[in-house]
C-alpha cells in the first residue's frame, strides 16, 4: 500500500520575476577606470528608468497644469504674444527684418515655438533636478529618469503648441510640403541639442546657484544669434558669421523648412550640428552620471 503524503505546500512566490540577485559595489576610484562596466550600467539604468520617467512625467504635467486657471493655454500664449509684438513692430517699420519665405507673423510664431522648445530642453533638466533635490539626496533611483522625464515634458509642451501651429497654417492658408513627415526628425535633433546642455548643466547647477541665474541670461542672448524673429542673414558681416556658426541655426531652420517650404538651405550644417548634438549628449550623460554623487554629497539630506 502506498504511503499517503500530504500535497506539498505551495511556496510563496513573488508576483513578478525580479533579477535574482542585484549586486552593487561602491568603490572610491573613478568609474572611468572600468569603462565597460560603466557603459553597461548606464545602459541598464537607462532601460530601468523608462517606467519611472513616465510616472514622473505624468506627475509633473498634472501638477503643472492643475494649479492654474488658464492651464494648457500657457503653452501657446507666449509665442502668440511674441509674434504679435514683432509683427506690430515690423508693420510700423520700427523693425526692419527683410523678407521671410513665410508670412511674417507665421514665421515669428513658428520659430518662437521651436526656440522655446529648445530653451525648455536646456532649462527643464536643471529645474527638475532642483525640484527633486530631497529625493536625490535620499533615494538611489536611476538618475537618467530625470533627464528622460524632462525630455518627455519638452515634447508634451511642444505637442500642445502644435495646435497653434496647425491653426496658423490654416489661418494663413500656407501649403504643406510632403517633407513635413521628416520634420519630427529634425525637431528631435534640436531637442537633443538642448537636452545636451541641460544634462551637462544640471549637476553643476546643483552645486552653484550661479547657473540658475546665468543660464536664462545666456539663452536670451543666444536668441539674438538665432534666426527666430529675422530670416537667415545672407551677408558676410560679423553678425552673419556668428549666426551661421551657431549650431542651433541649421537645426531650427531645417525643422522649419521641412515643415513649410520643403527646400533645405543648409543640409550639411544640419548634419554637422546633429552629430555635435548626439556625441555631445553622450558626453553630457557620462558627466551627469559621474558628477551626481559629488553633487548629492553637497545637498542637505
Amino acid at each position: 500500500m502506498k504511503e499517503l503524503r500530504p500535497p506539498p505546500k505551495q511556496m510563496h512566490r513573488p508576483s513578478r520575476s525580479r533579477p535574482e540577485i542585484y549586486t552593487a559595489v561602491y568603490r572610491p576610484e573613478s568609474e572611468m577606470r572600468r569603462p565597460l562596466q560603466l557603459f553597461n550600467r548606464m545602459w541598464q539604468d537607462l532601460l530601468a528608468s523608462r517606467e519611472l520617467a513616465w510616472q514622473l512625467l505624468k506627475r509633473d504635467i498634472s501638477a503643472q497644469y492643475r494649479q492654474s486657471f488658464l492651464g494648457y493655454a500657457w503653452a501657446i500664449i507666449p509665442p502668440i504674444v511674441t509674434a504679435a509684438g514683432f509683427t506690430f513692430a515690423s508693420n510700423a517699420k520700427v523693425l526692419n527684418v527683410g523678407t521671410t519665405d513665410l508670412p511674417y507673423p507665421a514665421y515669428v510664431m513658428f520659430s518662437t515655438v521651436l526656440w522655446q522648445t529648445f530653451s525648455e530642453a536646456i532649462t527643464l533638466p536643471m529645474r527638475n533636478m532642483a525640484q527633486s533635490k530631497m529625493l536625490l539626496a535620499k533615494i538611489n533611483f536611476p538618475r537618467e529618469a530625470l533627464i528622460l522625464s524632462s525630455m518627455g515634458q519638452v515634447f508634451f509642451n511642444f505637442a500642445i503648441k502644435l495646435i497653434l501651429i496647425v491653426g496658423m497654417f490654416l489661418w494663413f492658408g500656407m501649403p504643406v510640403a510632403a517633407s513635413v513627415i521628416l520634420a519630427p526628425v529634425a525637431l528631435v535633433h534640436l531637442v537633443l541639442f538642448g537636452i545636451m546642455f541641460g544634462t551637462l548643466l544640471a549637476p553643476l547647477s546643483a552645486l552653484y546657484k550661479d547657473f540658475a541665474k546665468g543660464v536664462p541670461l545666456l539663452i536670451g542672448m543666444w536668441l539674438f544669434l538665432t534666426p527666430v524673429v529675422y530670416p537667415v542673414p545672407s551677408g558676410e558681416g560679423l553678425f552673419g558669421f556668428f549666426v551661421k556658426l551657431n549650431p542651433v541655426t541649421p537645426l531650427l531652420v531645417t525643422t522649419r523648412e521641412l515643415a513649410t517650404t520643403g527646400v533645405l538651405s543648409d543640409p550639411q550644417g544640419f548634419w554637422w550640428a546633429s552629430l555635435v548634438a548626439l556625441v555631445g549628449l553622450m558626453f553630457a550623460w557620462l558627466l551627469y552620471r559621474l558628477a551626481m554623487p559629488y553633487a548629492i554629497e553637497r545637498m542637505s539630506s
Binding site: 540577485i21 549586486t23 552593487a24 573613478s30 492643475r66 533615494i139 538611489n140 559621474l290 559629488y294 554629497e297
Partner: protein
Amino acid sequence: MTLMASNQKVVSTPQSDDVVLSVQGVSKKFCRDLKRSLLYGVRDIGKEFLGLRGEKNDKLRKKEFWALQDVSFELRRGEALGLVGKNGSGKSTLLRIIAGLIKPDVGMVRVNGRVAPLIALGAGFNPVLTGRENIYANMSILGLSKEEIDERFDEVVEFAEIGEAIDSPVQSYSSGMAARLGFASAIHTNPDILLIDEVLAVGDLKFRAKCNRKLFRLRQNGATFILVSHNSQVLLSACNSAIYLALGKVVTSGEAKSVVVKYENDLFLNEAAGKSKDSCITEEINNDEFREIKINDCVFIDDQGRIVELLKTSEAVTLCLRCTAYERVDEVIVRLIFRELSDFNELVLELSSKADEEELVMELGENDVLIHLSYLGLKPGLYSLRVLIEAGARNTCDRVDSFTFRVQSSTIMSNCSFYQPRSWKISNS
C-alpha cells in the same frame, strides 16, 4: 553580523553566500567650509571624469575632516544592525554610502540585493496632486513597477488609514496623514536591505506600533535591517548587534546590549562632566523668622566618605546634607523629593523622616544629615532632587530646590522601572 577589527580579521565563521552587505574599511571626508566644499566638488568631478581618482583618497585637504573612518562590518540575510552615536558621528553618512548615494573615499561597499531607505516621504509629495497620484510617483521612485504598485495599492491605503481622502490633494491632508502615507508607501516596497534612519518617530503611538509589527514581519521574511535610533529600547528590541560610532570612528561593536550600555554610559558621563560643577544649585529661603538651619552643601558620598559624582543603580550610597544650625532643633524633619527629568518631570520617589518616624535632633553648629540608601533603586537617567529641612511641622528652615544628578547602570535595566535587590537559589526540600 560579522564584525571586523581594523586588522580585518573576521570574527565569526564566514558563510559568504549569505552575506548581503559587506562594508570594508570605509572612510569618507567632508569639508566644513561651504565655498571650499563646492570647489572640491568641482575638482573631484573633474578627476572622476578624467579617471584620475584612485582607490585611496586618504589625504585631508584644507578644512576637511573625517566624517567616517575605517568602518568595517558584514551583514547576513535576516540580521538587524543598530547604529548608535551622537549627532554628527557619521551614522547617516554611513547609510548614504551603503545606499550608493555618495562615494566612499577609501574602502569598499558590496551590496547583494535591493537597498531601500525607509524614510517618510511625506515631504517629497507634490501637494497639488492626490494621494493616489503621489503613491504611484513615490513608489516608482523607490523602484517598483506599475504592476507591483497596482498590486499593493489597497494595502498601502489601508495601512496609512487614509480611506476616502486618497483622491483628495495631499495639501488637504494633516501632517500626520501625509507622513503616514509616505511611510506606508516606503514600507510596502519589500526590499532586501532596509535602512531605517530615526523614522519610527513618525505618527502616533498606534501607528508606530503597527509599523513595528510590519517591520518584524519583514524581518521574519528575511529582510536585513540597519537601524539608526536614539531610543535604546527600540534598538534593543529590534537588533541583535550594534555599532557605536563617535566622530566617524567605531568605538565599539558587537552584541547590541553591551554596545548600547557603553554608548549610554558615555553619553551620561559627557553630560555629567559638563554639569557636575554647577549641578548643585542651592536656593536659600529668605525667611529670617524661621531660619534655624541652613543647608550649605548637598552631596552623595560612599562608605569611605568620598564624594560620588556618578551614581550607580543597585549600589549603596549616602546622601549627605551639610548644614549649619543656629540653635538646637529638637524636631528636624527632612523631606527628599526625587523627580526624573523627562518630558513630564515625573515624581518617582518621596522620602520623609517624619513618615519614617525618625526622631532627628540637630545640635548648634555644623551638622551632617546622612541618609543611607543601601541599594540605589533608581533606574538610569537624569534626576532632580528637592530637599526640604523643617523644624517642627510646617516650619521650613531651608531647602534645595533642584540638585541634579545622573544615575547609570552596570546591569541591564530594560523593562525595569526600579532596581529590585534580589538573590537567586533553588531550594530542594
